[in-house]
């Protein structure tokens, strides 16, 4: 573990078991593997000696499907990858295709996109908080989190008619104008939310059991995190102040003031605090954006049939889970020649082994929870 760049790779099936060691197969059907993740653990008593993630149970060949759909037709598919943050996925894809076309969405569209994406970030983090707390054994926060998430989903539903896989954005801008009372809804949510998040913190942040279960668990150093390509809150909790919204602003993020929360240790508790603070910051962005949504068109004039000129583009956004990138190659036809998705969950999950070694079985579920994976995105 000394050299962060060394590749310690596990190959459980070929290793010989010690006297007191057992192999525990967690998943793909297990209450806390967040879907169909399967983790093979080699245990000495309850201590993890080695681990291996086995994924692919939810593989749907999204990248292959993309090659057989037109650019617009593929847009709803990206919602099905990280299905708890569909709006963010859609934003990344639409902006990537816009970049490929050499065009850009109008400013009004970009501001509305920013608001909805930040709301989606809050919703995604709320879901993470609830399930993470549930994994650690706190039964109650999940219901509070769902209560707030419901408010966000209602806004989505009012805006575009869908709650989960929203397909909220179109290539070139937006299909729908904001509904009447959109600003008030978002404002009301933001006003309530500040008390609610304090409420969660009183349940967990100072709780001795919670601190005991998360502090010092699954430590990931900054060097390890960078070497493993980890992004998002996990990276920031390790002390790297890096956020694509600041580093390479997209949508309308360059217009708003917000902080990038970071922590030092990179343990589960730090990641918890970072995400809690991120929710607060997202709320601030929403409030700033809602103050002044510029007037103007919501759709760029790009035509009905999209034929991007040959070439390729890589565009990435700061999704709730980390850097979500789209690498799209065009051959000049109406269908993408290749769409590659850089899924944050997939790459963050690679750090699992590093975090889990030497910890206990109970920590394993805390670590799976703290990486915040969505298997739809890991497996695609």
């Amino acid at each position: 573990m000394s050299d962060p760049r060394s590749t310690e790779l596990s190959n459980i099936s070929t290793t010989v078991l010690g006297a007191d060691e057992i192999i525990l197969n967690m998943g793909p059907q297990h209450p806390s593997t967040h879907g169909v993740l399967r983790v093979k653990l080699k245990l000495d008593g309850e201590r993890v000696v080695d681990s291996e993630c086995i994924i692919g149970y939810l593989h749907r060949g999204v990248e292959k499907i993309a090659e057989h759909r037109s650019y617009q037709q593929f847009a709803p598919y990206v919602d099905r990858m990280d299905y708890v943050a569909a709006v963010s996925n859609g934003l990344g894809y639409c902006e990537a295709v816009e970049k490929l076309l050499g065009t850009d969405a109008p400013i009004r569209a970009r501001v509305v996109r920013t608001i909805l994406t930040e709301l989606q970030r809050i919703a995604s983090h709320l879901l993470w908080l609830g399930t993470h707390a549930l994994d650690i054994g706190a039964l109650t926060p999940v219901f509070y989190c769902f209560r707030e998430r419901e408010e966000i989903l209602k806004i989505f539903e009012k805006y575009c008619g869908a709650r989960l896989t929203t397909h909220a954005f179109r290539i070139g801008g937006l299909q729908y104008e904001t509904y009447d009372g959109f600003e008030q809804d978002v404002k009301r949510f933001c006003d309530d939310f500040t008390h609610r998040i304090d409420e969660y913190e009183t349940l967990l942040t100072e709780n001795r059991i919670w601190v005991g279960r998360t502090k010092g668990v699954g430590i990931l150093s900054a060097a390890d995190a960078i070497a493993l390509g980890v992004t998002g809150p996990v990276l920031r909790a390790s002390g790297v102040k890096w956020d694509l919204r600041k580093a390479m602003p997209y949508a309308a993020y360059d217009q708003y003031q917000f902080e990038i929360p970071t922590r030092e240790t990179g343990d589960t508790y730090d990641r918890y605090l970072v995400r809690m603070e991120e929710m607060r910051q997202s709320r601030l962005i929403c409030l700033q954006a809602i103050e002044n949504i510029p007037a103007g068109p919501i759709m760029a004039r790009i035509g009905k049939v999209l034929k991007p000129p040959p070439g390729e583009v890589y565009h990435s956004i700061e999704a709730p889970k980390g850097e979500l990138g789209y690498y799209i190659v065009s051959d000049g036809t109406t269908q993408p020649y290749r769409v590659r998705v850089r899924p944050p969950s997939f790459i963050n999950l690679q750090a699992f082994d590093k975090m889990a070694r030497g910890s206990l079985v109970a920590d394993v579920v805390a670590i799976i929870g703290t990486i915040d994976i969505v298997l739809g995105e890991v497996d695609r």
Partner: protein, 440 residues
């Protein structure tokens, strides 16, 4: 107690009758505790809980029980069939056996053993075999890990809980459950006020012994799926379930008997008669409470959406009214009947109050990790229990030798113990700040 049958026959028949009643009622009671649990949980989590089966889900336990009984019974191929079959039986029969010595009222007691408390502890400590053997016989890693955790946890926390109990025993000077309650009547004070720390230690220990959150590691859902019960289904699973809830009632019963005055009503030694009658004011309390519940049911009944639900609600109200009537009627009967009926009421009320705390903890706290659980048990609870024991014994000795009131000396002892508890907790905090990776 003047019975109208020959005492020798009564000595055999009455306990048998009680036993049958307990075995028959307990599953129903457990089912309704589950409903209560779900309702309390729902209330704390800003939702409604079961609402569909019967008005406010009142028939839910019956539906659940039917579902469980009708489910397919699966025995894994590689399981040890004999032990797999035996284990839930051990669990549930040991849990039920413990009721033999639990006094629900002065008369409602199957056997008044002079080692009653020890008997209950002994029998409930056998229940662990149900868990351990079931976990092993399932031939699954999750079950085995659950069983191992359970065994280690039970052995550790039984010690702490037992030491907590002893502080109350010192006050009572007897192991017979009946004598313990009577001692509290004689001293005019529930023992929880003499040895609050002993009660606290027993409470924590009893949560751990019954595998309830935050100490539910043997069946920790998010880690071990369902722990030792992972491979069980249908009726066998419900036996485990029944055993768990029966054990909860047992530990609540022990706590009630030792610390909360058993079947005694509040201010039991305080007698204030209603003017002109022999009825005590405080004795009217239970029936008034139930009358209120009955009226509330009648108030709710017309508001139910479906006709059958209106009916069920009304029946529940009527039931409460009937019980209130019985409780009120007992006021005019002989003192023995009064004590029996009201004793059962107060006993159950205290048991449920204790259980409410169990539920409350469950919905508030995250789960401990195994090493933290062990550290809490061995480094905090057991030392604290020993200190508490010594302090309590010293208080008793002081009272006996020099004669200050027991109340004064026990308060002194409690303060000393509290100071030491704070020191222990601080120590523990320092220790747990050490990274876990190189822990025990």
């Amino acid at each position: 107690m003047g019975h109208w049958l020959a005492p020798s026959v009564m000595r055999l028949v009455l306990p048998l009758l009680y036993a049958v009643v307990i075995v028959a009622v307990l599953p129903l009671l457990a089912g309704y505790i589950v409903l209560l649990e779900r309702k309390v949980m729902a209330d704390m989590q800003a939702r409604l809980g079961p609402m569909r089966v019967g008005p406010h889900g009142l028939l839910q336990p019956i539906a659940d029980a039917l579902k469980l009984v009708l489910k397919e019974d699966i025995i894994p191929d590689k399981a040890d069939r004999l032990l797999f079959w035996l284990a839930p039986l051990v669990s549930v029969s040991m849990a039920l056996l413990a009721y033999a010595a639990l006094p629900i009222g002065p008369a409602f007691l199957i056997a008044d053993l002079n080692i009653g408390l020890l008997f209950i502890l002994a029998v409930s400590s056998l229940g662990i075999y149900g868990i351990v053997l079931g976990g092993w016989a399932s031939n699954s890693h999750y079950s085995l890990l659950g069983a191992l955790r359970s065994a280690a946890q039970l052995v550790s926390y039984e010690t702490a809980a037992g030491l907590g109990l002893i502080s109350a025993l010192l006050m009572a000077g007897s192991l017979s459950m009946k004598d313990i309650v009577m001692a509290q009547y004689d001293q005019g004070m529930w023992f929880i006020f003499y040895v609050p720390i002993g009660f606290f230690i027993y409470m924590v220990g009893s949560i751990a012994e019954t595998n309830r959150a935050p100490f539910d590691l043997p069946e920790a859902e998010s880690e071990l799926v369902a722990g030792y019960m992972t491979e069980y289904s249908g009726f066998r699973w419900s036996l485990y379930f029944l055993a768990e809830y029966a054990n909860m009632i047992i530990v609540a019963g022990i706590a009630t008997t030792l610390f909360l005055g058993g079947w005694l009503r509040p201010f039991a030694s305080y007698h204030d008669h209603m003017p002109g009658t022999s009825i005590e004011l405080l004795d009217a309390l239970p029936s008034l409470l139930l009358l209120g519940v009955a009226l509330y049911c009648f108030f709710l009944a017309p508001k139910q959406p479906v006709k059958i639900q209106k009916l069920v609600m009304a029946v529940v109200g009527g039931l409460c009214l009937a019980i209130a009537g019985v409780l009120a009627g007992a006021l005019f009967a002989s003192p023995a009947v009064l004590q029996g009926v009201h004793g059962a009421f107060w006993f159950m009320a205290k048991v449920f109050a204790y259980l409410y705390f169990f539920l409350w903890f469950r919905f508030t706290f995250p789960r401990y990790r195994f090493d933290q659980l062990m550290r809490l048990g061995w480094r905090f609870l057991i030392p604290l229990a020993l200190v508490n024991l010594i302090a309590t014994a010293s208080a008793l000795l002081m009272t006996r030798e020099w004669g200050p009131s027991l109340r004064l000396t026990t308060i002194l002892a409690t303060i000393v113990t509290l100071v030491i508890a704070m020191w222990l907790a601080k120590n523990d905090e320092v220790d747990s700040a050490v990274p876990v990776a190189d822990g025990e």
